[in-house]
Symmetry: C2
DNA sequence: TGTTAGCACTCGCAATGACAGAGTGCTAAT
DNA sequence: ATTAGCACTCTGTCATTGCGAGTGCTAACA
């Protein structure tokens, strides 16, 4: 167990390093408010803290830097709620007071505001599409052989896809098909669309349309709606400002990562509803070794949830990010839920 | 006028510098195939070329580097068609042989292939939306007060927008509205949509729907479809590989530029149908001082055109990029036009 | 007269060493 | 238990040096 003094010192080291990005020496610590012991004493304590793995030296005679374990401890035990600046709060509030109609707009804006306020990178996962339900199908023929299939979901999202039509498919066929699809599939969650399509419509289609099987192939493709959530980015380039990223290899790796949706999604904490913090190697990703990721979820109505992640260097202002994230998550949840209830 | 020998030397300097990124010295030049004079002679010629402004020294005793004027001359007079590698051709061909249905997919892929093959950055402007014509309107109500408005264009593009409905707007009203819109506005180019909407439908709507004016406000918003072309990027990060961009400020400026659609669009050559090359400051953009941009246009059918730009360092393999760009532009034109003719 | 060999000179760059500054660990005094 | 003091270590900077690559110029050559 750490002594009170060790806690104090660890706190100062993390706080100081977070804001200066420079290793922290004993003399520097001794000058801080609330520290009433000499540099020598502090050096002794630091030696202990180092032995325990909470801090590290960058070289034999350097000041100390928090280790991953140190950050972890700091985050778990030493985080003290700071009051947020009125401006920050105001900026976030104004987004929600602003009467924006489209959900997507609001989400985009949220990401931008977060990355501006934090100077880190924000990734925002839109509500998971899988739970949305089909509201309406539409089939707009473009030519003899092709048409646009449109699926509108209950939250106003529109999916559209080009499909090929069977030979000799006429206006009447289209009408019939649309009717069948709407009769049978409205209300079905996107996630189940493909299976339900087969189950519910194949037979009926065969009864009414003589090219049913060919058509069905097209419809099956259409029903293969992207189930992964939309990903919104903001402030990708903010990483360039972080001194730990003044290294082309790191930048490269980071940017490559940002281009891979599957890897991005793996950064999010599955399931659960809290704010989560992953520090450095806890992200299980080489490109993220010097990064921490703080994630939160927001919810829209009962069923839909989305996530927000803020990615910064491990030397990150954890408290500030958490506050901002919390404010944003609740604002988003509230505003978007209201939109949903009001029928968008 | 440059002597034959000077041309030869300039050519070697550009070629060499393009591939090595290192200033080229007289000794190095003298060793090249086809060069039959001594380093001393070459030094004399280089002194002349420098005086004429085609090449520069990076410091008093360095080798020479092409100046902007040098590149310009090279591009205008010295470019020799190289035969393209079979692999490159194959890769591009395979894209078009591949049976991809969606235009957008093809365009995205094209950009990717180009940036992969060139190792530069590709920007692809989709066909200008303004000329597309309305094929069908649809209005899907989501709640009492809101609906999704959908516009399908003749090339299969789908625009959708949330709109608010007037109080007490019922299913019958929706049906009427959709009918009126489709009767009056199908075939109208997107560009004219807003004006034609007012001209053609306002009166009729007033006759049939008692909340016509309120509805019309919503429709007007809907009709405000983005007229600028879609922009596709590929290989943004390729710039990191270029030694001239191993400088955080340049990277930053470049990336900032890439985020500004209006600036991006200003990089393209307006109007004209040829391949265009802009070197360094010819781009009139500080962030582009060390970049060259090569642009080409492709066309879909008679009316629609799009553009491709490849952005690399001024020290760029001009010939290769031009060949690739030419191949891609004609492939794209051909394939997409065919798609359009086949009714997509 | 055009070409070339030779040479002195310049510049960048990498290696070297000296040195100041910041920090540590340990010991001995308080 | 705390702290002052001191020897030691490591980094970063600066000036020096030497090397290599390249140039410009001159004089010799074909």
């Amino acid at each position: 167990m750490l002594t009170n003094r060790q806690l104090q010192i660890l706190q100062v080291i993390v706080d100081d390093f977070v804001s200066s990005a420079q290793p922290v020496g004993s003399r520097q610590i001794s000058k801080k408010e609330g520290i009433h012991f000499s540099p020598a004493t502090i050096r002794n304590e630091m030696a202990d803290l180092e032995e325990l793995g909470y801090i590290e030296k960058t070289h034999t005679s350097s000041g100390r830097v928090p280790s991953e374990k140190g950050y972890r401890f700091y985050v778990d035990h030493l985080l003290k709620p700071k009051t947020m600046s009125v401006q920050d709060i105001g900026l976030i509030q104004s987004l929600f007071q602003n009467q924006i109609v489209e959900m997507e707009q609001i989400i985009r804006q949220s990401a931008n505001i977060l990355s501006d306020l934090t100077t880190y990178t924000t990734i925002l996962l839109g509500p998971n599409v899988g739970n949305h339900r089909v509201k309406r199908f539409q089939l707009v023929p473009l030519s003899e052989q092709s048409a646009v299939a449109i699926i509108v979901t209950d939250n106003g999202h529109v999916e559209n896809r080009m499909i090929t039509l069977p030979k000799g498919f006429d206006a009447l066929d289209i009408e019939k098909t649309v009717k069948i699809l709407n009769d049978r599939l409205v209300g079905v969650p996107i996630l189940e669309l493909q299976s339900r399509l087969e189950l519910e419509t194949l037979e009926v289609l065969r009864q009414h349309i003589h090219t049913a099987d060919s058509l069905f192939q097209s419809l099956k493709k259409m029903a293969n709606v992207e189930k992964e959530s939309e990903v919104y980015f903001a402030g990708k380039m903010n990483m360039l400002n972080q001194p730990e990223f003044h290294d082309f290899n790191k930048i490269r790796m980071f940017m490559d990562l940002m281009d891979k949706k599957s890897q991005i999604i793996s950064l999010f904490h599955p399931g659960d509803n809290d704010i989560h913090i992953r520090i450095g190697s806890e992200n299980n990703n080489l490109a993220m070794e010097d990064c921490s990721v703080i994630t939160a979820t927001y919810s829209i109505g009962e069923a839909q949830t989305g996530s927000i992640a803020i990615i910064g260097p491990t030397r990150m202002d954890y408290q500030r990010v958490i506050s901002l994230l919390d404010l944003m998550r609740s604002g988003l949840s509230h505003t978007l839920t209201k939109k949903l209830m009001d029928g968008l």
